[in-house]
Amino acid sequence: METKAFQKIYTQLVGITKATCSLRAQGVANEELAMVHGRLAQVVKIIGDVVTLQVFGGTEGIPTNAEVIFYGEPPKLKVGDDLAGRFFNAYGEPLFGSTDVEGSPKEIGGPSVNPLRRKQPSELIATGIAGIDLNNTLVTGQKIPFFADPDQPYNQVMANVALRAKADKIILGGMGLTNDDFLYFKNVFENAGALDRIICFVNTTEQPPVERLLVPDMALTAAEYFATEKNEKVLVLLTDMTLYADALSIVSNRMDQIPSKDSMPGSLYSDLAKVYEKAVQFPDGGSITIIAVTTLSGGDITHAIPDNTGYITEGQLFLRKDSDTNKVIVDPFRSLSRLKQLVIGKKTREDHPQVMNAAVRLYADAANAKTKLENGFDLSEYDERCLKFAHDYSLRLLAIDINIDIDAMLNQTWELFAKYFTKAEVAIRQEFVKKYWPAEQ
């Protein structure tokens, strides 16, 4: 952003911390942008004539006589069709030497949708992964994170989901992404020939952490443009929201705020909700769906970040390495899509809800059998069959490298039922059993 003529330049800072600096200035508006010593900053606090700025690029090397220029407006992103197919940094500046975006500037982090003007989500998003489509069906306008340990291949799964979902635009918001992962996303999107549908806003680990705070707002402002102006189905990928929350805690810490649980700011719930609640089904057909990643430490979901996230999002997806099949699977017990009820058996085949529940119940019986085995108790014949079923079920349905349509998933599950169980053990409504139970061979 260029400076305008006759702008007042301040040259005396009265305080500097690791993330903020303050100075005396007049007529400054809350949340407006400023340039401090060539780095972008935003007003976060005004007390009398002392203005505190959050410096996105960090305050390293900023002298007390640094030049400060106020822009008189909050952060904006130029939105237009020209955004498509491009890569941006956290400030919305094009990367890889591409030209400026043509479009009209729009404030980021804008107002919320009137809840009364939302539409109830009802459109299914097919991903080909049975652990998702069959057990935890996603719906447009939904917000759902992957809860995963850092060693799990969540970025790969997310990239797959994004490419297979029939979205008009895929917007990636990368926060604290390693450069390797960023290049991975870039390659996958390029190889899939999907670049014209992709928009990326990226803050990598090589860049200052506070910058990340801009990324979700940038990505979602672009998403709102395509969803409201073009009535498009937009899929927003946010990875990794744990690093976003960490950046929030850095800033609140530097501003001397009293931390609440797990050193997180007391406003963590509202801060995360502001991002996730941008997921919406608009009445005119456009939608914003958010798939995010929240990395856990040692699978602990009681930590403030996943805990608050779970209360905000519409379910969560858990990845787990299944030692029996040596595959990464979508955990059917801990994963949940709260909106699946809106589509399963309605937009998908009628037997979907019952087949899904029966399979998960039998998989749970297998888990019990396994515990019995580990505790040295004898297995019944039924237990043995459950274990065999669980093995096939994980391999042919839960594994994340599956790519089939939902009818095929249902048929495969019926086949497994018939292979290992009696009709009574499966206990599905009679009319479905008549219709779908595979014929004896």
């Binding site: 007529g27 606090k45 919320s112 009137n114 809840p115 009364l116 939302r118 609440s260 609640e277």
Partner: protein
């Protein structure tokens, strides 16, 4: 003359204002940002500086911006037409706002001032009246909306004039009353009341003495909630809190439902918006929406208005209680409200209490819950506000401050258990951890024994005991293995499972099972406890589990059948024959 001020500091939605004349704690003010008015509330005053929490985003606000104080606290607008409305936390009508996105400062009227209401007077000239007296009524949906003497009036007044029966608009003067000194006051159908104060224009608040049917068996049978009482539902995410609350709001035997969606997911509110206008109210045959008012402050709406939303909802509930109605108020979730308090307390740099919540949190929660209750109005009729709040404990830990404080204030506790939810045993209300204090109230025990059955409470306690013994047996089986315990332990365990599967578990998505009337609950409980009373003998534990599994299957079909239908009795016969076979 209104007090004026100018902005001197801004930290997120906390703004300090230098004022030129007196201001009151909790006084409402408007901050002028360019051409937009932003509503705010005074929460602290030091010297000439008033600290206000702004109910909107403060982006773009500057030092020296003008502030105008209103001279009153945050008030709810009360009058005919509140039902079926969808409000934001400050009672602005969401349906009157233009555009898809909410705009800061877009404040719409709570009531429709151009609608005609058919007014029938209930007092005559010369009558003496006090605050809360019914001076007339208008039909609103299916209720007789009573027009009451404003709660703000103190002392006794005399009716000087009252309009004839006819059609009037809300702001028309419908009566003139005079006070002891002969001063006249014009009354319309509308009145205002500060939301943070309880409406106390009633004669007496007795202990609750009757129960409120919800159709949810694990509540009505096991831990009943009394009319005019308070309950709360804590549970980790994914335990079915929202489904349970929606079930209660659809089925409860209340005249009106006020739902405060406080800091929760927008799509959940959308579900209510989408479904309630189509769902039938089984009691009146009309649409559920006709008896429902929704206060929506979803998690992405301004934080300060979240706190206001529960108070606004309570005030509307108290207003309808004054008409002699049974009101059920649901708030999902009170934790979000507590978090809003925490955010402000933090910005005010107050010394924090546990988990950084403000020190007075327990008192704030207790005061709020105390506003519920069954009351005798001045005319001898009863009205009630029953309040059920949900709590979202951080990390599922029930020892956190909001749950602890609420536990001290509420009389019914419905603990949702992660374990039950994982096992898909819904509703996930834990039968052992949950409690209803009302089962200890002699007046409630008498009421239950009179209205349901002379032995009802005894039977319920017996059932609870079976569940308790089953749980203990289960722990032993887990430690010692299936054949490490006497077969009798398996029998105990399965009796508890029988009660769990048939009484406690209920399918909220099944047309028939979703709601069970008390009479049917009694029938099933008697049947199940009757079965449990039998000392069955088994040779082997597998024989035991096979017997009970078959029994559960047939009893479940009873739950899914229309009560007292042919099908229902057919399954009952099936159950009887399974038992007789066993006894033989």
């Amino acid at each position: 003359m209104k007090t004026k001020g100018k902005v001197t500091g801004i930290i997120a939605n906390l703004v300090s204002v230098e004022v030129d004349s007196p201001v009151a704690q909790n006084e409402i003010c408007y901050i002028y940002r360019g051409g937009v008015k932003l509503m705010a509330e005074v929460i602290k005053v030091i010297g000439k500086n008033a600290y206000v929490q702004v109910f909107e985003s403060t982006r773009g606000l500057k030092v020296n911006d003008t502030v105008e104080f209103e001279g009153h606290m945050l008030e709810a607008t009360l009058g005919p037409g509140l039902l079926s409305k969808n409000y934001d936390g400050l009672q602005h009508d969401l349906s009157k706002m233009d555009g898809i996105f909410l705009k800061a400062g877009d404040y719409t009227d709570a009531l429709d001032y151009d609608v005609d209401w058919e007014f029938t007077p209930l007092v005559k000239v010369g009558d003496e009246i006090t605050a809360g007296c019914w001076i007339g009524e208008v039909p609103e949906n299916w209720i007789n909306h009573k027009i009451m003497v404003p709660f703000k009036l103190t002392g006794t007044y005399t009716v000087k004039s009252i309009v004839e029966k006819g059609v009037y608009k809300i702001k028309d003067t419908i009566a003139v009353v005079t006070d002891g000194d002969g001063n006249s006051i014009n009354l319309s159908m509308e009145q205002k009341w500060p939301v943070k104060m309880a409406i106390t224009a009633y004669k007496d608040k007795p202990r609750p003495f009757k129960i409120m049917e919800t159709g949810v068996r694990s509540i009505d049978t096991f831990n009943p909630i009394a009319e005019g009482s308070t309950g709360f539902i804590p549970g980790p995410f994914g335990c079915g809190k929202t489904v349970l609350q929606h079930a209660i709001s659809k089925q409860a035997e209340a005249d009106l439902i006020i739902v405060a969606a406080c800091g929760e997911r927008a799509n959940e509110v959308v579900e209510i918006f989408a479904e309630f206008p189509h769902l039938d109210d089984p009691r009146t045959g009309r649409k559920l929406m006709e008896r429902t008012t929704i206060i929506a402050n979803t998690s992405n709406m301004p934080v300060a208005a979240r706190e206001a939303s529960v108070y606004t909802a309570m005030t509307i509930a108290e207003y309808y209680r004054g008409m002699g109605l049974k009101v059920l108020l649901l708030a999902d979730s009170t934790s979000r409200w507590a978090q809003a308090l925490r955010e402000m307390s933090n910005r005010l740099e107050e010394l924090p209490g546990p988990d950084a919540f403000p020190m007075d949190l327990p008192a704030v929660i207790a005061n709020f819950y105390a506003r519920a209750g069954l009351v005798y109005l001045n005319n001898g009729q009863t009205g009630s506000v029953t309040f059920i709040g949900t709590v979202s404990p951080a990390g599922g830990n029930l020892k956190e401050p909001v749950t602890e404080s609420t536990k001290k204030a509420a009389r019914c506790f419905y603990a949702l258990s992660q374990q039950r939810a994982d096992g898909k045993r819904y509703p996930a209300i834990d039968p052992m951890d949950s409690y209803s204090k009302y089962l200890e109230y002699p007046e409630i025990i008498d009421y239950l024994n009179e209205t349901i059955d002379a032995k009802w409470v005894e039977t319920v306690l017996k059932a609870k005991n079976f569940v308790q013994r089953g749980k203990e047996a289960y722990e032993q089986i887990n430690i010692l293995g299936d054949d490490g315990v006497p077969v009798e332990y398996h029998d105990r365990f399965w009796k508890a499972e029988l009660i769990d599967f048939i009484i406690l578990q209920q399918d909220a998505f099944d047309k028939i099972d979703a709601s069970t009337p008390l009479l049917r609950q009694k029938f099933m409980l008697d049947l199940i406890v009757g079965i449990c009373d039998n000392p069955f003998k088994f040779e082997h534990f597998e024989e035991c589990s096979t017997f009970y599994k078959g029994l559960i299957n047939s009893l479940k079909q009873m739950n899914y059948s229309v009560y007292e239908s042919e099908e229902f009795f057919k399954f009952e016969e099936e159950v009887k024959s399974i038992i007789n076979e066993r006894k033989a």
